[in-house]
Symmetry: C2
Subunit: 214 residues, 2 copies
DNA sequence: TAGATTGTTAATCGATTAACAATC
DNA sequence: TAGATTGTTAATCGATTAACAATC
């Protein structure tokens, strides 16, 4: 707890969280650093170093307490805060996320979606009310949403970011490829950057082809 | 060219690519490592080290040739290979990607989508033909697709992965949260892991709240 | 007690930064 | 030539791995 946890460690946390969740569901109560490392493709040393960043969940000779560790990581990542969420863009991406991502199961509260399309405004999308973006200040006035999900086409990214500013969200989950230019000291921005992911895939694929066919 | 390029460098390439693309579109022909670093939040040293991994695009006193560098990164990442793509899952996510990601503009060839839903099979989704997954071997027999995009709900992830095996794709872009357990020495897997991204956002948000309210 | 596995220190490795000579 | 900026080497920093004493 004392030392500041490095970003390299934090980025591994969600993965630990997933694996510990699976172990919990399988009814495993203790796991050794060696076994966990093996299944995750890390070294046992690394696992121990990582877990020692935030306390004392291991027992010599026994391993780590799966449930306690799972709870602790959840708390470190802030997954129990019940953060509230709005969408900018009530299109297919919004709907796909609402249907498949499991926000409720993960403890998020979905408040509303905002769009400009008159065919959508005033209706519901996957049981989420859709409002006009012009009303965003009014609707988010009393209870400011924690997280805004930017799910619009690239061309409308900057415009959408402006609306999120008006809604006074604390963090933006950005699905557009654009750099939003929001004041990052005030608003947290997490970019999904799907194109970066696909480019990395292409790189690996290209390397493979080079290896196979010269 | 000689030394093997490290993964840390590769992961920065898509970002360079995006910035260089913007510069190209703005008509900028030369850029110094200092200016590029500044706009990207890197150090000039790092930019020069990165670019020196693959040759000689700088000119002392002048900076780097934007167009040449852009082309080179494109070639390193394998973006000019015209890779072909199929989808498993012809739902909202598939459609959202087809509509918004710009596959054609980026040089990818969309071949088909596969699903089990009789309401979708035999029709088109965003002008992409939808076939039954049972026919995947037959349809992908002659011309094997390079990339398979796994866009199904988590519960159908492993099943979907099996179909991608049958289609003999070389790489999988995995939008489910599941670990697919594919033989990674034979099939390249790039996981999108949206939940990891949202958890990282939550962590930063949680840190911010701690700072603000103790 | 003996065996297992952690917690933690020290050693290694790799990536980033700084510095400066080379050169356009 | 003088100014600017690269290419590259050396120094620093941080992250990973190895080792082992502590302890359940």
């Amino acid at each position: 707890m004392s030392r500041r946890i490095s970003m390299a460690v934090i980025r591994r946390m969600p993965k630990y969280y997933r694996y510990l969740n699976d172990l919990k569901n399988e009814g495993v109560s203790k796991i050794s650093s060696r076994k966990l490392a093996e299944s995750m493709g890390l070294t046992a040393s690394q696992v121990r170093q990582d877990f020692n960043c935030f306390g004392d969940f291991g027992q010599q000779g026994q391993g780590y307490d799966v449930a306690a560790l799972h709870r602790e990581i959840s708390s470190i990542l802030g997954l129990d805060e019940g953060y509230s969420v709005i969408f900018i863009g009530a299109g297919r991406l919004c709907c796909s996320l609402v249907e498949n991502f499991g926000f409720a199961r993960r403890g998020f509260k979905l408040l509303a979606a905002f769009d400009t399309d008159p065919a959508k405004v005033g209706r519901e999308i996957c049981s989420l009310p859709v409002y006009h973006v012009d009303d965003i200040g009014k609707i988010c006035g009393r209870r400011k949403p924690d997280i805004g999900i930017l799910a619009v086409p690239r061309a409308k990214a900057l415009e959408g970011a402006e609306y999120l500013k008006k809604a006074k969200v604390k963090a933006v989950w950005n699905f557009t490829n654009a750099e939003l230019g929001l004041p990052e000291d005030k608003i947290i921005v997490e970019n999904v950057h799907l194109s970066d992911s696909l480019m990395t895939l292409c790189y690996k694929l290209n390397q493979l082809e080079d290896k196979l066919y010269g």
